[in-house]
Amino acid sequence: MTHLQVELPGLKLKNPLMPASGCFGFGKEYSKFYDLSLLGAVIMKAATGEERPGNATPRVAETNSGMLNAIGLQNPGVDRIINEEVPFLANYDTAIIANIAGSTVEEYEEVAAKFNLTRNVHALELNISCPNVKEGGIQFGTDPEMAKHVTEKVKQASDKPVYVKLSPNVSDIVAMAKAVEEAGADGLTMINTLTGMQLHLPSKRPLIANKTGGLSGPAIKPIAVRMIYEVKQAVNIPIIGMGGIQTAEDVLEFLLAGASAVAVGTANFQNPLILPELISELPKVLQKYGFSSVEEAIGKAVTG
């Protein structure tokens, strides 16, 4: 019997698998494919203070073993998310994590405060790293001082555990992780996308209307694993890992590198059943490599 349970601040996960923010909407679409109660948790799409229309289209492009996206935080705003989306997800036996974003520290605080009053939301994921927001998101994510500041403010605005989502577009990921740990973060999620671009040869212009987009998918997996491995050695808060996961072996690789749970984003698009498939395959893979539980595997590559 392989134990898949993992306990993290605010989250009792029946298994370590969840969809990554922005790749799963608010769950409705994938609920047509399978029972969301199978999932360890669901991370919702980013919520901002007001409704946002997002960027112009095209918003996505395929790349080698990856994709670029510049959705631009399109979302109906925190109030409608709380009133229309959370109740749907709350029907399922799974943890709910709200991803919060904003252009200003005040907006982050406001959104956090609203989710704080939402019974069925178990934890917050602080998206300080969305590369597609022009007004400031990117600075929060690449400057340790700003990251620290916004984390502190959100911690004050909320009693729910706060997981800070780190951007990989930095010279020193460990400095970022330490800064937000110091600010009181309960956990980290990493990594967000790397900023990239694809040109459309016929028009000689960037294919994505926003010009740049965030690179995700298997292409970035080695960067995610490296960053998690480095951060795991420097902080004492748990990490939810993500970036290119598409097989149960990948899940184990992230656990070994130091992740306590993992999120799957891009891989949902090619295979809407990827999450239940990985959940059912994980026990076999853990066993194959000598583990009888997820907990046992966490950080094994770091601690030996």
């Binding site: 679409e29 395929e62 949902n268 698009f269 295979n271």
Partner: protein, 250 residues
Amino acid sequence: MRKIKMRLLQIREIAKDTIEMKLEDDYITKVANPGQFISIALPNHTLPRPISIADIDRENGEITLLFKIMGKGTDTLAGFIPGTEVDCFGPNGNGFPLDSGQVDKVLLIGGGIGVPPLYYLGKRLEEQGIEVKSILGFQSGKYVFYEKKFESLGETIIVTDDGSYGMKGFVTDAVNIIPGFDAYYACGPTGMLRALTEQMKNKTGYISLEERMGCTVGACAACVIPTATEGSYKKICHDGPVFAAEEVML
């Protein structure tokens, strides 16, 4: 909506760079409506390819797809051999409205690789006793396909950009020739749809749109289109691909 494997039965080039595939399937054929599409997951790709349902043979559990070779993905797909199990999911999207009631005569207007979904639509409309006429536009003669099939549904005008086959011009030029129809159904490049909806402002029309997609199921917000209501967006993969002509801003 399900994830399924469809066995490829037959594949052939029916016009330049234009491939017709027949696949065995006992789920989509039962539930899909004209205008819906399926998503094809290709090995070594990260995004699924949305392809419209061109025809369905419910009795034999056979689905027809038509696609044009446009890039790496469709090129790979074109190389599949009969017997291949193709990873798909769907049916996705809403499809064309079939039971509008007061419609007696409809006009189908297709441009290039926008033609395929109109064929299954035409067949289903004709089954309901509705009179179907079609205008199909192509770049040039060598890209023309399914002329006979559309003719079996009703009067069909072929238009080519260069006049190498049928009438020279655009589908918008041909629309005036067809008198009296209650509604039009169109699918094709955005430019064509823009011109068309402008030209037929006071007609009831339904148009099927395309956009680059991520999830193809409504979860990622990649494929939005602004609606006529200021600041509001719809997801083409989920709320479309078919929209009432006046509903969206092209």
